[in-house]
């Protein structure tokens, strides 16, 4: 039976490897790929008055750019493999938002790259992969 696979994709090399790995597995079972891109955002950060004024426009720009540069080309490319591909674009805490997407879409698996922070900041705040491994509602595959 075909499964739904959420792939966290941010345009980085490791997230690309995660996608390729996921595609390889999906092909054997005709699984559905859900490309998820999360823009890091906290509603509790602090903004200056100018930033508040520009925020709405900035958000539109960020969404358009993410769609055009990060998501659309790779979604198109993945579709050429014959798999069903859908995309999700969200703001939020990366690990938490990926979990939410997985729940909403009724996904069976999550694939992500071992990406992003290294060294000190990961030690203090935890990495996305580490957090996801702990809180995800479905099995997570972390690709190095």
């Amino acid at each position: 039976m075909p499964r739904k696979i959420v792939v966290g994709y941010d345009g980085s090399d490791t997230s690309r490897r995660a996608l390729d790995f996921a595609v390889g597995i999906a092909k054997t079972n005709d699984d559905q790929i859900i490309l998820a891109h999360v823009l890091e955002w906290s509603p509790y950060s602090f903004l200056t008055p100018d930033e508040i004024e520009e925020r709405h426009q900035r958000r539109q720009d960020e969404l358009e750019r993410a769609e055009a540069v990060v998501i659309a080309p790779v979604a198109e490319q993945t579709r050429t493999t014959g798999l069903t591909v859908s995309t999700v674009l969200r703001y939020g805490h990366i690990a938490e938002t990926l979990c939410e997407i997985a729940k909403e879409q009724g996904a069976d698996l999550i694939f992500i790259g071992r990406m992003g922070h290294s060294g000190l900041s990961a030690r203090i705040f935890g990495s996305v992969a580490g957090t996801l491994a702990q809180v995800a509602p479905v099995p997570v595959t972390i690709v190095p």
């Binding site: 509603p43 602090f46 100018d50 508040i52 969404l63 703001y91």
Partner: protein, 515 residues
């Protein structure tokens, strides 16, 4: 971009000032003072004129009556909606699909960093040293009533803002005066808007600017010893110039992150001092209540306490002034009233919590000198305020009070004062600019002219004495409230309709929490 010529002018002025020092340093300060006091005196006298035959300034009555009318008209909304306001800030009612837009929390934090400033540190010290501990009682009461004023003005600010094609928004009292009056068929909206904009520009130079640099300088001399005010002024002016003209957002962003932290440290330290002197708490509240209603030796007796308390509360939380309406109007929300609910928390945090902390620390640490025989406060020789240990006032008094418990705190306070002053200046430069563009239209050159004038006032503020600066700061900000509150009276039925509609939908479950 004609940024360079102005930078050059500023550099030349700075170099010129530096060349004139040090021989003429004192005289520069004195001359600035003299010109300043003589040119703003009439305005100050008008705003703070007393009711005939009394020593009660009409402007204080104006603000309190306004806040009381809104409190009653909206059925004590500040208490009824307090819980809902907190739920809004926590994001319980935020649509997850709107993530990435400005959150209620961010709007509140930014508006607060504009109001939490020297009013909370220096202003309260002035109120307590002039009006006695009793001023605290009236300050708290003014803070609670002021929540209703903020609720009214911020709801209107969002409802009647202008949205432009490029996604930017401009809002504030100017816009609700024009559009709201037109909608209700009332005349004079544009006239009032222009008047408000003029006062707002003056306020942005006064309380939002000169008072801040003045008190920042006072705290610096308190820590490092006396030196001419214009030096602090020029340094501040250059940094402010870099941020608002040069677009050095990184400075502003760093400040915005540190300011809340400083606020927490400030309140935390105050709480520790209060807990350390737990035995004095009862006595302190005794002094506050006694001073609020009876003569305790302070200037002007109970009425003096009331005037000082109300005056400093209004200056600190800016409720009814209209500045918060400018800050909140940039926020995207489907329901304008939700910004009103969020904004009513500001006077609570600013005045009821933070100002009260300052006052309690000053009273508890025994800074105010009483006559051991009568228990009455002793006034200084001029009879203008209560004698304090070390003969201090303003931010120096707060510093002395905190330092009596923790010697190192005056260094923390110096940093806090500078950061608070800076963030308040940045916020007010935005408010002033919005008023300026309302009058003169948007455009890079026009905006640059305002920003340069703003920076010049930073220098003047640091060089002038506390007396004339604090009077002008108050006068300019209260002048905004004169116009704004008239508009609020005329437009409050619109807010009531919004409020009733929202609350009934909240009750029926049409508006509900997102899981």
């Amino acid at each position: 971009m004609n940024f360079r010529p102005f930078a050059l002018i500023l550099a030349t002025v700075t170099a010129g000032l530096a060349a004139a020092a040090p021989a003429a340093a004192q005289t520069i300060d004195e001359r600035v003072n003299e010109i300043f006091a003589s040119s703003t005196g009439w305005f100050v006298n008008f705003i703070f004129a007393n009711f005939p035959g009394t020593s009660f300034p009409w402007i204080v009555a104006w603000l309190v009556i306004g806040a009381t009318v809104f409190t009653i008209y909206f059925g004590f909304i500040q208490f009824r909606a307090f819980g809902h306001s907190i739920a809004l800030v926590r994001g319980d009612y935020s649509d997850p699909n709107d993530a990435g837009e400005v959150s209620h929390f961010q709007a509140l934090a930014t508006a607060l960093s504009g109001t939490v400033g020297l009013g909370n540190i220096a202003g309260v010290a002035v109120a307590v040293s002039v009006g006695g501990p009793g001023a605290t009682f009236w300050m708290i009461l003014a803070g609670l009533l002021g929540m209703a004023s903020k609720f009214t003005e911020c709801t209107l600010g969002v409802k009647y803002r202008n949205e432009y094609a490029d996604g930017k928004v401009s809002g504030g009292p100017m816009y609700y005066m024009v559009k709201g009056f037109a909608e209700r068929g009332l005349p004079g909206g544009r006239f009032m808007a222009i008047l408000f904009a003029i006062f707002c520009i003056l306020g942005s130079f006064g309380g939002g600017n000169m008072f801040q640099s003045n008190q920042a300088h006072a705290q610096l001399t308190n820590v490092f010893g006396a030196y001419p005010g214009w030096i602090t002024g020029v340094i501040f002016a250059v940094i402010v110039f870099l941020v608002i003209v040069g677009g050095l957002k990184s400075i502003a962003r760093v400040t915005e992150k540190i300011v809340p932290l400083m606020g927490v440290i400030y309140v935390g330290t105050a709480l520790i001092i209060i807990v350390m002197n737990a035995g004095m708490i009862g006595d302190a509240f005794g002094q506050i209540f006694r001073g609020a209603f009876t003569w305790d030796g302070a200037v002007g007796g109970a009425i003096g306490a009331l005037i000082q308390g109300f005056r400093r509360a209004a200056f600190s939380n800016e409720a009814g002034v209209g500045s918060a309406a400018i800050a909140h109007s940039a926020v995207r929300t489907k329901e304008p009233i939700t910004e009103g609910f969020v904004s009513l928390l500001e006077p609570f945090i600013d005045t009821v919590v933070i100002c009260t902390m300052t006052a309690l620390v000053i009273v508890i640490t025994g800074q105010l000198i009483t006559d051991p025989n009568t228990g009455m406060f002793i006034l200084n020789e001029a009879g203008t305020r209560i004698q304090t240990i070390g003969d201090t006032s303003g931010v120096a008094l707060t510093s002395a009070a905190f330092s009596s418990a923790f010697g190192w705190f005056r260094y923390v306070l110096a940093v806090a004062v500078i950061l608070f002053a800076f963030s308040t200046m940045i916020s007010w430069s935005y408010y002033g600019l919005k008023a300026w563009t309302f009058l003169f239209g948007e455009g890079q050159t026009k905006e640059l002219i305002f920003k340069v004038i703003f920076c010049i006032f930073v220098i003047i503020g640091a060089a002038a004495n506390l007396g004339p600066v604090i009077d002008f700061s108050d006068a300019a900000i209260f002048a905004m409230a004169v116009v704004n509150i008239i508009a609020l009276y005329l437009l409050m039925p619109i807010v009531k309709a919004e409020m009733n509609s929202y609350l009934s939908r909240l009750k029926s479950g049409e508006i509900r929490k997102f899981a």
